[in-house]
Symmetry: C2
Subunit: 125 residues, 2 copies
DNA sequence: TGACTATATTCCCAAATAGGAATATAGATG
DNA sequence: CATCTATATTCCTATTTGGGAATATAGTCA
């Protein structure tokens, strides 16, 4: 993975928020819509952009597409994501996103719950 | 400074090489030309881009314009530059740039020498 | 099967970007 | 002053980007 490509992915605020959320948990498109309050096209397109550059991975779970960070992220990606998490600590918008995520997860969030139990099943099989 | 702006500056290979070199030493445009083997317009424009976003500072020294990182860089910039230095260790092109820089500095490099003695003078006055 | 849901894609437009050729500018030097 | 040197800017073009409206698609469920 080219280092510049990482920064190309980081240089849009929406993508940055998406990646930041993904450092916490895999999420589906509707989660991003809820948390970021952005229209579906926008989210979907940015996810496609990230996907095309190998910055995220997808798995279908029924109607939901569950996005997550690569299982084996390149070293540079790991380092930059952790730098991002570090830099973002003091930023209100990003913190608000995290808070919204927590709230979402607490409220027995369907897609994610299904996905996680599916993951467990996969591990067993 | 907006975090996204940092990544906007990082998302071009030439700018990335420029910033990487500046983590080592202030440099003038002709240095960048020598080290990066890129035409003057290109270097000059990318430096203007970085300047416009407060990512670098300039000081004239006779005919030379000496570029350097901000004296007081924002925390996020510091963190990301050090992450960059970390990520770039294994990259041949970037290492080559560093080697070229060292060679240039060793060969009694005029603009930089003048600049540094001027800096000393400023400190005294 | 048909309706529904979540998501992706297409088509459009406006703006930003990167690069090169040519030209302008500021300071140095004779 | 004229000339030279280092650098910046302007003008041009091709490409990429970001975003929205509308539409397409894949899987689900009755």
């Amino acid at each position: 993975m080219e280092l510049v490509q990482i920064y190309e992915c980081f240089c849009d605020r929406t993508r940055l928020r998406i990646l930041h959320l993904l450092t916490q948990s895999p999420l589906c498109v509707c989660h991003f819509q809820d948390i970021l309050h952005e229209p579906q096209v926008k989210i979907s397109k940015h996810l496609a952009y990230l996907r095309a550059r190998g910055m995220v991975e997808v798995e279908r779970e029924g109607n939901w597409m569950i996005y997550s960070l690569p299982k084996k992220p390149a070293t540079e990606l790991r380092k930059n994501l952790s730098c991002l998490q570090d830099c973002v600590q003091s930023d209100k918008a990003f913190s608000r996103d995290l808070k919204n995520l927590t709230r979402l997860q607490a409220s027995c969030c369907e897609p994610l719950a299904v996905f996680q139990s599916a993951q467990k099943t996969n591990r067993r099989s």
